[in-house]
């Protein structure tokens, strides 16, 4: 109890001391500076070592503390953040960045080309758990000829490089801060970002403090200087029902809503609702590596039996999802309306005749058997999430209507990831999240059949297109490649794309000037507390 009392007093004390903004800060940005917003996090960030995690909570925190060389603008194009500009060599292999001058890390040391080189070399050394580790394997050489020039040489042209350099995991570390803790930066994060790490109380919360010297926010913000909100706190609340209660009680300021809560909070004056699309979609996949689903005709027939509209209406109330026609989600570069003509639309009659033609005949009770007369009971693997539970039940009923007796097996996430490379499944229901058309190489390439390609689809025609898309830096040509790749994938049907998740986030009405990103979430740099 005494510990708790002390903790309480300390909290009270820090609340008092931070409530008053520092004089320098308020002089530059008026009365908007101050206050604290609290977000809910389902877990701790596990580690704040930028190169040793792919944890989503850590990733959002990195976005406040660190900055990468480039950022993705609202129109999905790439602009300079710590880099001012760059040039690409004619062979598409060498990128020369001109770095921004006069920027310091929050420990006071200067940002320069040596820091960039130091950071990326550390990533190459210890970054196996980082989502961009692979990218840096294709980096042949890195040079820092002077403080404001950084040269990156690739072993072969790699078009998604700017995406990978723009993610929060590609932020630049302060070398002096890393050396000060002998490379153990799991709890000592120092970058050039708009916030600094103030405190991480294990299992409870991470608190970030405004970087009052910050002066180079992306151009889409009105406020290019330091953030207005004094502190941002990530509070660990694992249980969704408790998160909702915490929002009700005013303990957190923002929460993604579930379908059942949208009507209530949409009408509630205490909150404003923001929509955003996910960079990804959920698909129904087929294990294309073994019979019977190695046959594209069977995959096509079953795809035709799936009623996406029913899924979106029933599971997501028509609001938290948008039907996806094509492998690349509408929020991602490379999506093209014209591809809709190739969508395998819901057509139970076509599904039935397709199955008939392949020899899957209906028995007396209407259930189809395999051409050899044995029972046809394909097994769908998915996670235990409540959305996936509802969707798989619906798909089960939809396939039943064309005579297919689908079995559903739900595995907890970690178990599912381990099971799919062993090809135990026939069908697979899950989503992907990757903001780059090169998602093809992660989820549908031969290289990844033992890991992230969970439909084990390996096709040489598509493989060639994936490779071409990765190495083509001309934007128009590259998008044509992905148009063709999508068309081909829709004909081969390893996936039936189902829907793109839409999130609706309730934000406390005390927050003003919060900006809506095109996709992917909310942008807080202009925001202040009323």
């Amino acid at each position: 109890m005494r510990r708790s009392l002390i903790a309480g007093l300390v909290l009270l004390f820090t609340a008092c001391t931070t409530a008053a903004p520092s004089p320098g800060a308020s002089a530059s940005s008026g009365s908007k500076v101050g206050g604290m917003v609290t977000f809910a996090a389902i877990t701790d960030p596990e580690t704040l070592d930028l190169h040793q995690t792919s944890n989503p909570v850590a990733s959002t925190i990195f976005g406040y503390i660190y900055e990468p060389l480039v950022y993705q603008d609202l129109d999905n194009s790439y602009k300079g953040l710590l880099a001012e500009s760059w040039t690409v060599s004619p062979d598409n292999k060498t990128i020369t960045f001109a770095l921004r001058k006069g920027i310091t890390f929050t420990d006071g040391s200067p940002f320069n080309a040596a820091a960039v080189k130091f950071t990326y070399e550390r990533l190459q050394r210890v970054g196996a758990k980082s989502p961009i580790f692979e990218t840096f394997k294709s980096v042949a050489k890195m040079d820092a000829p002077n403080d404001s020039t950084f040269v990156l040489t690739l072993s072969e042209p790699y078009a998604p490089i700017f995406h990978d350099l723009a993610v929060s995991y590609a932020g630049i570390l302060s070398p002096s801060a890393v050396q000060a803790v002998a490379d153990k930066i799991d709890r000592a994060a120092v970058g050039t970002g708009e916030y600094k790490l103030k405190e991480w109380q294990t299992g409870q919360q991470v608190t970030l403090e405004r970087n009052e010297k910050y002066d180079h926010a992306p151009a889409f913000y009105k406020n290019r200087g330091a953030a207005f909100i004094q502190q941002i706190r990530y509070k660990v609340i694992p249980d969704p029902a408790t998160q909702l209660a915490a929002l009700e009680a005013g303990e957190i300021d923002q929460l993604g809503l579930q379908a059942k809560d949208i009507a209530k909070y949409g009408a509630d004056k205490r909150f404003a609702i923001f929509d955003s699309f996910a960079y990804g979609l959920t698909y129904l996949g087929f294990d294309a590596a073994r019979p019977p689903f190695d046959d594209a005709r069977l995959r096509t027939a079953l795809s035709r039996a799936v009623n996406k509209d029913e899924i979106v209406q029933t599971v997501f109330g028509g609001t938290l999802a948008k039907i996806a026609c094509c492998p690349i989600a509408p929020s991602i570069q490379g999506y093209d309306e014209k591809l809709k003509q190739y969508e395998l639309k819901y057509d139970p009659a076509a599904a039935k005749s397709g199955l008939e033609a392949l020899g899957y005949k209906a028995s007396a009770d209407g259930t189809r058997t395999k051409p050899d007369g044995t029972a046809f009971k394909p097994v769908l693997y998915t996670t235990t999430s409540s959305d996936h539970t509802k969707i798989s039940t619906l798909i089960q009923a939809q396939l039943k209507a064309v005579g297919v007796d689908l079995q559903v097996k739900q595995l907890e996430s970690a178990a599912l990831l381990a099971a799919t490379p062993r090809a135990e499944h026939d069908l697979y229901l899950n989503g992907y999240s990757w903001n780059e058309p090169d998602m093809f190489s992660l989820f549908l390439s031969c290289d990844r059949v033992k890991t992230s390609n969970r439909v084990l689809f390996c096709d040489q025609t598509l493989e060639a297109m994936i490779k071409a898309g990765r190495t083509e830096l001309d934007q128009a040509k590259r998008m044509q490649i992905y148009f063709d790749a999508q068309k081909y994938t829709m004909q081969q049907a390893p996936w039936q794309p189902l829907y793109m998740p839409v999130s609706k986030t309730a934000v406390s009405a005390r927050v003003a000037d919060l900006k809506q990103g095109q996709a992917g979430g909310l942008l807080w740099h202009d925001a202040y507390l009323k």
Binding site: K129, D239, A245, E251, L417, T451
Partner: protein, 297 residues
């Protein structure tokens, strides 16, 4: 001395259990988009490429040196991870045990003394409800009433003294009910004994008879329950800690299980085993104090 084989048995059990849980920590850690190469590197880094017996011996070797290993997720020492959480778990367990024992024993005594009367029926009715309603449901009801309607208590966190009340009370009600029923039945047995008649005949006040002479003996079975409950709470109250975001060992264990963070799972399970052994020992000593006739050779 029996503790050592028990702990060894637990360590083998935990180790094998982990080997049979589906899901590979390297895959879980590397994430959905990792390449086979990255997964292989992580597997080597974690020593998961070694055969199971080798992994187990390494685990024992570390244990002999007083180390529980390093968390796969956070790269921190498991002992540090647990010690970070233990004060919170201890606080929650102490408050819950104190509250449930006080409440349970009081209700039990009231019921026994008023056997067959309205007070007995009411208290045992309350105990029945406490036994039947699941803890997580009590917790959610508590949040709705005391946090959302009355605004008396915070929903989550462990920042203030008020934070411990809801989780501790939700945890307490079930065991308070158990304790009330046991106190009642063992009080009823004792209230009929000769020595109480003697005490009354000496002219002792009824309160002294009940609370000093009868209750002390009736508490022996209750102390067993208290010990067991405290032992299990020290290993973390998994559901309650998850609901309230209480940063204790239970929440650590739940997150470790989802992440296949084997060293942390092993560490927390060993902690539970040790906690049971220690509380059992304390309960045995407590028996001797409650009933001086009990002696250990």
């Amino acid at each position: 001395m029996l503790a050592i084989p028990v702990l060894l048995g637990v360590s083998v059990g935990v180790f094998l259990m982990i080997a049979f849980i589906p899901g590979d920590p390297a895959t879980a850690l590397a994430g959905d988009t990792a390449s086979p190469d990255a997964v292989a590197r992580i597997r080597v880094e974690l020593g998961l490429d070694q055969p199971l017996p080798v992994q187990y011996l390494r685990f024992l070797e570390r244990l002999a040196h007083g180390s529980l290993g390093t968390s796969i997720r956070t790269h921190r020492d498991v002992t540090v991870e647990i010690l970070d959480r233990l004060p919170y778990t201890l606080e929650l367990a102490l408050v819950a045990v104190l509250f449930s024992t006080t409440l349970g024993v009081s209700l039990g005594v009231i019921a026994a003394v008023n056997r067959g009367r309205a007070a007995d029926l009411v208290t045992m009715g309350i105990a029945m409800v406490g036994l039947s309603v699941p803890t997580f449901f009590l917790a959610l009801i508590g949040i709705v009433v005391f946090s959302l309607k009355l605004h008396w208590l915070p929903v989550t966190g462990a920042a203030t003294i008020a934070s411990v009340i809801l989780p501790a009370v939700s945890l307490s009600l079930h065991s308070a009910a158990v304790k009330a029923r046991i106190t009642r039945s063992s009080m009823l047995e004792i209230l009929g004994q000769d020595y109480l008649r003697t005490a009354r005949a000496k002219g002792l006040r009824e309160e002294a008879v009940i609370w000093r002479h009868a209750l002390r003996n009736a508490l022996i079975p209750v102390s067993t329950i208290v010990g067991l409950q405290f032992g299990s709470l020290l290993g973390g109250a998994f559901i309650i800690e998850t609901i309230f975001g209480w940063p204790g060992v239970g929440l650590l264990a739940v997150q470790a299980i989802f992440n296949r963070d084997f060293p942390v799972i092993q560490g927390t399970v060993l902690l539970v085993a040790v906690a049971y052994l220690v509380t059992n020992l304390v309960v045995d000593l407590l028996y001797a104090w409650l009933d001086p006739r009990i002696r250990y050779a």
